[in-house]
Subunit: 237 residues, 2 copies
């Protein structure tokens, strides 16, 4: 497999860095090839704006999706976007490695999504969810949290982790056509002992060894919805 | 009331701009004062990094929350963060005005949250949720979507809007202590007629007229949870 890790942490001695490094080591040892987009190191431009388009379809009124669609066709998206899109096109598995900040991605990673997952590339023209532009590829979220696991249980103070990750796993990854593997969550490494941190890294290594046989999350494909885009009764549970 | 609108759209002729302008006009006409943080116009720095701290507690290892806590005490957060924090401290109501991009905020607004809602300011030291640093203030999300309303119904293709907004409304706004007013959602203005767009703006104006009496979303306060931070049986529904 060709694996792309998009990594969003500034500190090279962080636990996020250790997870990223564990992934590189484990996956390469298993014969996979790994590419890393280290967003902080790349000083990746986080803010989606008019400068993302080398030519503007409409110079007077910025309608982002239409500019994206035109630029994707003409090859006039900015160079850093095209570079990331090529990495995505070439990969079999995408891993997003980030600390959960405010129950979501750090802005630099959200900006990578906002800019790289452009209309006409990742979706559009009827291609979305199970027919999205990234169809045939897998994706997995690997996150660290501040709080302990019980805070993220279905009845926990912060709310269920599946619910917290829904906009990312369903709204970004599945929307773009990825099969989404279950997330790997390292809970509260900042408050863990060195032994506990080692155990988390070992668990991550074990998880990575199962990637090729792991069942993706069972999100509803398009044919489960009626013409008004409502879930059909036979698929409601 | 003193109202702070944090606004995240680049295009001054967008529907987001029209909603922002409607809010300014309506709220000022009702005798409130309004301040706008126009993030694109301010070229607000979206990426949280070591440069956010004028002095570093630990120059060799960046542990963001500890740096935030120390810098909040010492007043050594970067100037742009302090400016936004002052606006927040002075406001009675915060409105986040943004287009729903990838079922979440544009990166520039996520970066505003990542950087401005610092530990030691918005939360920390046992202050969170109903005792968060922004306690006594209200907040409201005002978003536009690409898709029509039925896509965001509980059984709709994109998932329930409440579920999509949970990380923002519960995980950011309520976490920081705001009372969260029900969101205003303008569905698919890009595909609406001029008359429909006018009607949406009128609806927003009507909503804004009810702000002071509107019931906040009934999130669970801390005393609904047991010592293991699990929702007590009597509050489960």
């Amino acid at each position: 497999m060709k694996v792309l890790i998009v990594y969003a942490h500034e500190e090279p001695h962080s636990f996020n860095a250790a997870l990223k490094n564990t992934a590189i080591k484990t996956l390469e040892a298993a014969g996979h090839s790994v590419i890393v987009s280290d967003l902080y190191r790349m000083k990746f431009k986080a803010v989606a704006d008019g400068e993302d388009f080398l030519e503007r379809r409409d110079k007077h009124y910025l309608k982002r999706q239409l500019e994206e669609k035109a630029a994707a066709e003409l090859g006039t998206l900015s160079h850093d976007i095209l570079t990331e899109q090529k990495k995505l096109r070439d990969c079999d598995l995408l891993i997003l490695q980030f600390p959960l900040w405010w129950f979501s991605m750090p802005a630099i990673l959200k900006g990578w999504v906002d800019r790289v997952m452009a209309m006409g590339f990742a979706y559009g023209g009827g291609q979305w969810y199970d027919t999205g532009g990234m169809k045939g590829r897998k994706a997995m979220v690997s996150v660290t949290t501040g709080g302990p696991d019980f805070m993220y249980s279905p009845l926990g103070r912060n709310g269920d982790m599946d619910k917290i990750l829904f906009p990312i796993q369903h709204g970004i990854l599945y929307f773009c056509g990825f099969e989404v593997l279950p997330p790997f969550v390292a809970y509260s490494p900042a408050h863990a002992s060195p032994e506990q941190r080692d155990a988390m890294l070992k668990n991550y290594g074990k998880r990575l060894a199962t990637l090729e046989t792991l069942q993706p999350i069972a999100f509803h494909p398009t044919h489960h919805f009626d013409e008004r885009m409502q879930l059909k009764p036979e698929f409601q549970s």
